[in-house]
Every structure is written in C-alpha cells, then in structure tokens.
C-alpha cells in the first residue's frame, strides 16, 4: 500500500490541438486536504474530470491507493471510493432533499446495481436515518421533503455535499464548493469542511477564494496553462515568486 491515496502520474489530455493538461504529477497523502489553484482555464476541472473518469487521459495514469482508475467507468470509480461535487451543483432536481441524500447511501450499501424492486422504501430505516443525519449536518433538515429544484444555489451546493458525504468516500473532490455563495454561507461551508477534515477524509479542492484555501489546505498545487508550476505548503506557495507572477499577478496575498 502506497502512502498516497491519490497518485496521478504523467497525465496528458488534449482536446483536438489544444493541450489542456501536460505532464501532470500529483500525489495526495491520506487524510490531508490538497488544494488546486490557478487562473481560469488552467485545466483544474479537466484534471478532476480525468480522475473521476468523465474524460480519458491521452497519456499517464491515475491510482487510488493501489487501484488503477484510468480506463474505468465513472460509476466504478465512485464505487472504489471517489466522490465529487461539481462546479454547478449536480443533484436530482425532481426529488425531495431526503431522497437526494438517500440515493448515494443506497449506492454505498448495495453497490452499482441491485434489483429488489418489490422492497418498500419505507422499510429502509437505517438509510433514512443516515440521510436525515446528513441533512442535519448541512443544515437542511427542515426542508427534507421539499423538492430539490426549488432550493437556492447555495442550498443545492450543501445538498450535494451531503450526498457525497453519505458515501464516506476515501477521496473527496470538490470543485469550487463555495463559488457564488454569500460570505455567511461560505463560512458555514468552511466550518463544515473543517469538521469533515477532522474525520480524516482526504480531499482535493479547487477554489478561487484564497480565504477558503488558506484556512483548509495542507498542501497546494498551482496549475497554470495545463501544467503544475508549483507545489508545497500554503506558506511555501504564498512565497513562491513564480506563483505570484503566474497567478497572483505580483500582488501580495
């Protein structure tokens, strides 16, 4: 067993003639929070897409612990323990919040397919309680019977967080979890993420908000034009002149 939970080696990804990712190497230790920052279009979301199996890399490979993820389907990768929140919340808009959170819990318990179409949902007390807990955690329990599409964007994000947390993933990928949130909601989300951090869940987080990054991350990788230009502790990255030049535009943070 390697000491890294996520191991991305020599990954390239091209779109036609455009090189979106070149020679990416990224290692994330178990139980840490790893932030990926970089200007728009640097390839951050592409990198997450490669990890979760939405895109196949042109070269290189991705490992989760000792398991090879490259070439696997998104659902197989999820079943191995990778969960993701998206830049625009991906939820089930036609279902209630409670149902939204129950579905990932079923996936965790029953695997990628289970027939059982005569069993009653009503009898699934364990899953239901678990879902209620999660909604309580993210502060949405009062709306559990509401339809998800009626929620605000910030609430949808928190709902998506709850959905992923219910799977207790080994690796949790967050794509700008606080984008578009009010300062108040952002702080609540940070607090929530810190609580999960204490439970020892490994996270890779893409974020523009430096306040969020520096209050959560153990290590930071800086991505610019599809390549990692710097990596280190927040302190190291903050003082790296290349980073200042490429990303921070010379301003002190």
């Amino acid at each position: 067993m390697s000491e890294y939970i996520l191991d991305v080696t020599d990954v390239d990804k091209n779109f036609g003639g455009l090189r979106a990712l070149s020679d990416i190497n990224l290692r994330v230790k178990e139980g840490t929070v790893h932030a990926i920052i970089g200007p728009n279009g640097a390839g951050k979301s592409t990198l997450l897409n490669v990890i979760v199996g939405r895109l196949a890399p042109n070269r290189g490979r991705v490992l989760l612990g000792d398991e090879v993820l490259t070439g696997k389907q998104p659902h197989e990768i999820n079943q191995l323990g990778v969960a993701r929140v998206f830049q625009t919340p991906e939820i089930f808009p036609d279902l209630s919040l409670l149902q939204n959170v129950m579905i990932p819990a079923f996936a965790k318990r029953d695997g990628e397919f289970k027939m059982g179409f005569l069993k009653s949902l009503f009898a699934e007390n364990e899953i239901r309680e678990q879902a209620e807990h999660l909604l309580e955690d993210v502060g949405l329990i009062d709306h559990q019977d509401q339809i998800a599409s009626s929620m605000s964007r910030g609430d949808k994000r928190r709902l998506e967080l709850a959905m992923c947390l219910g799977q207790r993933p080994k690796l949790f990928l967050l794509d700008e979890p606080t984008a578009g949130m009010s300062r108040h909601d952002t702080n609540r989300t940070i607090e929530l993420l810190q609580r999960i951090k204490e439970r020892g869940m490994t996270k890779v987080i893409i974020e523009h908000d430096m306040h969020v990054v520096f209050s959560l991350a153990d290590r930071i990788s800086v991505l610019a034009q599809g390549a990692i230009i710097a990596e280190g502790t927040p302190e190291e990255v903050r003082n790296d002149p290349r980073v200042k030049e490429a990303y921070l535009g010379g301003e002190a943070v």
Binding site: Q73, E90, F113, K119, L121
Partner: protein
C-alpha cells in the same frame, strides 16, 4: 404530493382496497355513462395494463420509447398460437405471451439502451417498424400476414385434446377453466389481472429501485458519479414494461382471438404514449385514467355519425343544424382521431402533467380558497405557473 413523500405500505394497502372497489364495481357505476358493457370495460383494463407498464419506462426513467406496440403485438401472436397449439385455457396463453414479450424486450432493450434521448426513441421506433414490416412479409407463416392470425376448427390444441375436451361445431372461446374470456366473466379476469399488475407497479414505485429509476430521469450523469451502473436499471425497467405490454397483448387475444400486424404499427405505439401523457406521466394512477378516458371517448365519439348529429340539432333551423352537424362531424365518427390529436396538443402545451396535474391544480385552488389569506394566494400564483 405523493412523489416526494415516503409512503408507508399500510397506506398503499388502503389505496389498493379503494382501487379494487372502484374497478370491480365498474359494471354498476359506469351504467349512467353508457360504458358498462364488458367489451369496453375489458379495453379499459387491458389498455390500463399497457399504460402502467409503459409508465414504468417513460414515467419513471424518462426514456421515450416509440416502439412499445411491438411488444403488444408479440403478446397477441403468442397468445393466439398458444390457443391454437396448446389449449384454449388463458393461463398458458398469458404466461407465454408475457414471457416471450419480455425476451423480445430484452433483445431490443439490449441494443436500444446503448443510446439515450432521441436516439433511443428512433432505435425503438426502428425496431418496431421492422417487426411490423416483417410481420406483413416474410413472417407470414407465423403471422398470417394481412388476414391476421385466427383460430380454426382444425387447430391442434394438444392439451385440450389430451384432456378430452372436444370442440363442437363452433369455434371454441378462450376460457379460464371453463370461465369464458368474454362477457362479464372476461371483464373480471381482466380486472383481476389489472389489479395484480397495478399492485406490482405500486411496489416498484415505492421501492428503492423505483426511486433510483426516477433519479435516472432526473439526472442520469449524476447517477454515474454516485456509483450506479444505470444500464441494468434501465434494462430491467424496459423488460418489465415490455412484459406488461405483452400481457396486455395476450389479453387482447383472449377477448378476441385474432392477432393482426396493425397492432404493432407505430401509430399504436403513439397511442400508448398519448394515453400516458394524457393521464399524467410518472404519476401512479394517471395512466389508468388516461386509458379510461381515451378508450371511452374513442368508443363514444367514433360511434357518432352525421345522421345522429343532425337529429341532435333538429331543434335548430334546418340550414343551421346541417351546418353545425357538418362542423362537428369533423371531430366525431371517423374524425375521432382529429379530436384526439387536438386534445393531445392542448395537453402537451397547457397541461404537460396531464389529467393528474389538472386535478392537483384544481385541488390547490379549492383548498386555497377555503383556507387562505390573500398572502397565500400571492405565493401560490407563481408556483402554479411554474408547475
């Protein structure tokens, strides 16, 4: 609403009891509507089965199949063959019809479900058209082509003969151990099967499996990132709905042991889509309502003709009566499909949730009026528009 709450099985039993009571007393309460004769009520039941099966696919997963008539056709042909070769008893006919349609659905679903959206619709349509064209041409030995497959005096009926049942001069009728498949007894056979079908469908609806199907409709790619392999779920739903269609097809053969290829034509597939939409896609009882309403009006309106109309307006001056009759004549009798098309358009435009949405809106309107302050109404207005 029922769809977002988790309902206890006890409530569902109450639901079933009420539904059974309503269905089994149909011969009584349909009397004033002039619809209490067995033929029509059997149609209600049969198309009800077809529609709830279709709803398992379209209503729950959102996959719009334009080829479900093929399964109906396979069910009918299989049932008639079972009558011809094995026995006039309906049980083997229904079993074979359902199972064979299920297998057929398995094969078609295996291919069609590799694509989604409109491509899926076109693939199912293509398969149904192939079946239809083949039934008319090379498969004539099995389907008897344009004439349609019918019973004859000289059919083998192995089981019946072994049991010593002799056919008399007239053609035998399908029966359930002597209970005839036509008339009131036939209606009760169909009603019982419909209720069983509905019960299974209710269980599916209330199960984690059903919830996952609805999640697929809501956001399929999220299902993938949540660890579900959606293909087998869709496959199961497709096969189940194919079997429902097969059962409906075999029942059609029970009520009238003649199977023709036109049952497989794509307009027949269109009709089931229409029934489901009219009733309310993805709702529990909607498809049953849709089947009832469409079959009822088909029956009423297509029976009208110009003479009836002119008589109906005889209180008007002659020239006016003739005018009114000829305009209305467009919509009834042979023109019933015109009415159907118009109603269908109106429903899709103004009431995409079908009759069930209409009932819900009315309900909200009524309950608002009785309990509300002006503030509530203001809140309600925009949300009704959204829905």
């Amino acid at each position: 609403m029922t769809n977002t709450k988790i309902v206890s099985p006890k409530q569902d039993i109450l639901y079933m009891v009420i539904l059974s009571a309503v269905v089994l007393t149909m011969p009584i309460w349909l009397q004033p509507f002039g619809a209490a004769y067995p033929d029509l009520m059997q149609k209600f039941m049969i198309f009800g089965i077809f529609a709830i099966g279709y709803n398992i696919l379209f209503g729950l997963t959102g996959y719009l199949s334009f080829g479900h008539a093929a399964f109906l056709g396979v069910g009918s042909y299989t049932a008639v063959w079972s009558f011809k070769l094995l026995s006039m008893n309906v049980i083997p006919a229904l079993i074979f019809g359902t199972v064979l349609s299920g297998l057929f659905a398995l094969a078609i679903g295996f291919v069609s479900l590799r694509r989604s959206g409109i491509y899926f619709s076109i693939l199912t349509l293509a398969f149904a058209q192939m079946s239809y064209n083949l039934a008319y041409s090379v498969l004539t030995p099995i389907t008897n082509g344009e004439t349609g497959l019918q019973l004859t005096q000289g059919d083998a009926r192995i089981l019946d003969r072994a049991a010593g049942i002799q056919a008399d001069a007239s053609l035998p009728t399908p029966n359930l151990f002597g209970i005839e498949g036509i008339g009131y007894s036939g209606f009760y056979i169909c009603a019982a099967l419909m209720l069983i079908s509905f019960f299974i469908y209710l269980r599916i609806f209330r199960s984690p499996f059903g919830l996952k199907l609805r999640a697929i409709k809501s956001n399929q790619s999220r299902m993938g990132y949540t660890g579900y392999n959606t293909r087998p779920y869709l496959m199961t739903a497709f096969v189940i709905s194919g079997m429902y269609a097969g059962l409906a097809g075999s029942l059609l053969a029970v009520t009238d042991p003649l199977a023709g290829a036109e049952r497989m034509q794509w307009t027949a597939s269109g009709e089931i889509v229409l029934i489901t939409i009219l009733g309310g896609v993805g709702t529990l009882i909607g498809p049953l309502l849709g089947a009832g309403v469409i079959k009822y009006f088909e029956n009423i309106l297509s029976a009208f003709n110009d003479t009836v109309l002119v008589n109906a307006f005889s209180f008007l001056p002659d020239w006016l009566a003739n005018g009114v009759a000829s305009v209305l004549g467009l919509f009834v009798g042979d023109g019933w499909h015109l009415t159907l098309g118009l109603v269908f358009m109106l429903i899709v435009i103004f009431l995409p949730g079908g009759i069930m949405e209409g009932i819900n809106r009315l309900w909200r309107l009524v309950s608002n009026r009785s309990s509300s302050s002006a503030e509530d109404k203001e809140k309600e207005q925009p949300s009704t528009k959204e829905a």
